[in-house]
Symmetry: C2
């Protein structure tokens, strides 16, 4: 569908055409930007390529996790359903363009009037697609507002799985950075490309949506493909080794993708995204002994191996005991509490990112994990796992959940006639 | 001095050695992490290499600007001069290691007691040096506190150029994210590497310093070498085309490096860093017509060419008029107000970064430019330029200066016997 053509090529082409137009203040738009990222392209073009937008499922879920995140949650500020639908159509068109490495709309100066605001904000001009994916979801508050009113005639379509998450022990959630009527997860290898995409969606949505909160993440903390190594979180550990991966197609059908039989037709092929902003008290953690850190995770820090084994991918043996007769992996170790065998087989596709939001005014870095996990039904997956962790995980001494979100992420957009949320609004 | 050896190689070596030590909870530390960044290394190893730490000048000034920033300002919370000096020595040792791609200190588990906290926090294990530079500076408040007291017997050594910046019209500075007794600018191609470095310096400094504020930046906005293309700021424009560049050695002596003749011996070969966090009201900007945007900057948006010329590097011709008899570049255009010819020849080495700190609670992205500029004497360079911009730049309608810092950045550390600030404390 979408030709893989970069902003750079397009601009060169546009520039040639623009030579025929007025020259002056708003003159020819020929760009020969050579960013460092662009220079990389000949070397590792796959990291800079476009990820196909159209498909059965939305991109950005099983897509091998890119290195950078800009997540945004929006409040819908109109009560006009038609306006909302039009915006979703406009968003989808822009998403098709931006994920292909194009600008969000026709460039202001090429053929268009210079008296109008540009239809693209410009900061990604000359940058390659950089594996940008844009993944769209809707929150429960889109269906009914806080007073229970059916805002857009959608209440009957709310999936049962899109049920507010329960309160977990220790939750310190801030309402202003939780929830949201709509969300977009922008992932890319280049943060400037991810930021550009979110900003242009916000620009297009002016008057219809308002940014509720947004979060940048700089280092992926999970692998979503067997081709990727497990990265480290800001506690210095590999975590989520047992993550659901793109290659496990049968497991994905079981644990990741919603089916029509689950109750909401329009969600078949979609998934449910749980977001949790988890602040880490890194200063306290950094004063903890290595052996305690390893006991808490149940892994060693260097290799990431379960304390019962030697290699990262060794299956943890919770029965194995040390010379002192105690289990090598403690009952409260994170690796054990989160393990599928301890949670009725529940698995998640984790896709979180490290964040540092500056400092907290108390001399500490405001840092942690922006946890994101996709799943077929949070009631059977995230909720029981988190209930267990919230109650028993020793890690809780060093972390605090400060935001929470749950979004229904519809199936993929099929073609140019389709748009984000069509199944819901049609 | 420092061998260019990556964390990965070191860990492989350590792991082999660790086999001789206790195996168990805090066992062998063999790492074979393959991060995506590491995978890139065969393709573009120069971007992942180490930048030499020792030298006449500190690295991170004329070093070709890396793509990511973590800037941190510290308050010194001790009154004990010896403790401060010891910390600076410890910082320098850690900086030598980290810029070479090593961990900040010996790994807790290899040969050291597992009962002690690790001497490295671990999140950069397996990552290459990624051109990390750490650049150290001191603020005026280190010399005298707010009550005028000489805190560490340094007052007589305060350079005259390290004078508090004046108030500029329109300043909306927040004290808690301004100033600082010490600063470290961490730049790298990988944000995880920059974040790791700052965090470990904060860890090492516990009890001596406290993080006052820290700022992440994700896209460099200036070139500091002729080998680099001019990137775009979040207004979508190329700015700072006339930046001082590493290759202009004579100009650097004139505009960048402090000399003994300037009055403070210990600063010879150093420079002065001005930081300004400049929030951009991007939503308003995005509603402005292309022709107005271009008139404000005095450049076209696509190519970045002055409105009087065709190519980005064409010297702007402020006398050139359009068909209507008006100058093509308006008198209040940013390019003109900031131009050396309008400021007594003053030039700066700009080294700023784009930032997005989430959203501001009013439905807008909290985004902008973390401006950083190095110079020989701010009184003759940044101050007059900013005075002119603050008074006349039309851009002020779309921006707000919310933080400000000024730091004396000493010359380079010469060898293993030297340390950050030695000239000041010796």
């Amino acid at each position: 569908m979408t030709k893989k053509i970069s902003r750079r090529q397009v601009l060169a082409a546009s520039g040639a055409g623009a030579g025929l137009l007025a020259v002056g203040a708003a003159g020819a738009f020929a760009v020969e930007a050579r960013s460092e990222t662009a220079e990389l392209s000949s070397a590792r073009s796959d990291l800079l390529d476009a990820v196909p937008f159209y498909g059965e499922h939305q991109a950005g879920i099983t897509t091998p996790a890119q290195d950078r995140l800009h997540f945004v949650a929006f409040d819908v500020i109109t009560s006009d359903r038609a306006k909302l639908v039009t915006m979703l159509q406009d968003w989808t068109s822009a998403a098709v363009r931006m994920t292909a490495g194009l600008d969000a709309g026709a460039l202001g100066a090429v053929g268009g009037p210079a008296q109008a605001p540009p239809q693209d904000t410009g900061e990604a001009l000359g940058l390659p697609p950089s594996q940008l994916t844009l993944t769209f979801g809707v929150g429960a508050s889109l269906f009914r507002d806080a007073r229970g009113r059916d805002r857009f005639g959608l209440a009957a379509k709310r999936p049962a799985a899109l049920e507010d998450l329960p309160h977990f022990p220790g939750d310190a959630l801030r309402a202003e950075i939780s929830g949201g009527d709509l969300c977009v997860q922008a992932c890319a290898q280049d943060p400037q490309v991810a930021v550009h995409a979110v900003r242009n969606l916000a620009r297009i949505g002016m008057g219809v949506v308002s940014v509720r909160y947004s979060q940048l993440g700089f280092g992926r903390t999970s692998s979503t493909s067997t081709s990727q190594a497990t990265p480290r979180n800001l506690m210095g550990f590999k975590d989520g080794t047992a993550n659901l991966k793109a290659e496990e197609t049968e497991e994905l059908d079981k644990h990741l993708w919603a089916a029509a039989a689950d109750g909401a037709d329009w969600m078949a092929g979609g998934s449910y995204l749980v977001t949790r902003k988890i602040r880490m008290i890194v200063e306290t953690w950094d004063r903890t002994s290595l052996s305690e850190q390893e006991a808490i995770f149940g892994r060693n820090k260097g290799e990431g191996a379960p304390l019962s084994g030697k290699g990262e991918f060794d299956e943890p043996d919770f029965g194995r005991k040390g010379p002192d007769g105690e289990p090598l992996i403690a009952d409260e170790a994170h690796i054990k509490l989160a393990h599928p065998t301890m949670n009725g087989g529940a698995r998640l596709l984790r896709r979180g990112y490290n964040f540092v939001d500056g400092s907290d005014g108390l001399g500490r870095l405001d840092a942690g994990l922006f946890f994101m996990a996709y799943q077929r039904d949070p009631r059977k997956q995230f909720v029981p796992v988190q209930r267990q962790l919230a109650r028993r995980d020793i890690l809780n001494e060093y972390i605090r959940h400060v935001s929470s979100g749950l979004f229904a992420v519809p199936p993929g957009v099929r073609d140019a006639a389709d748009y984000w949320g069509r199944g819901l609004f049609a």
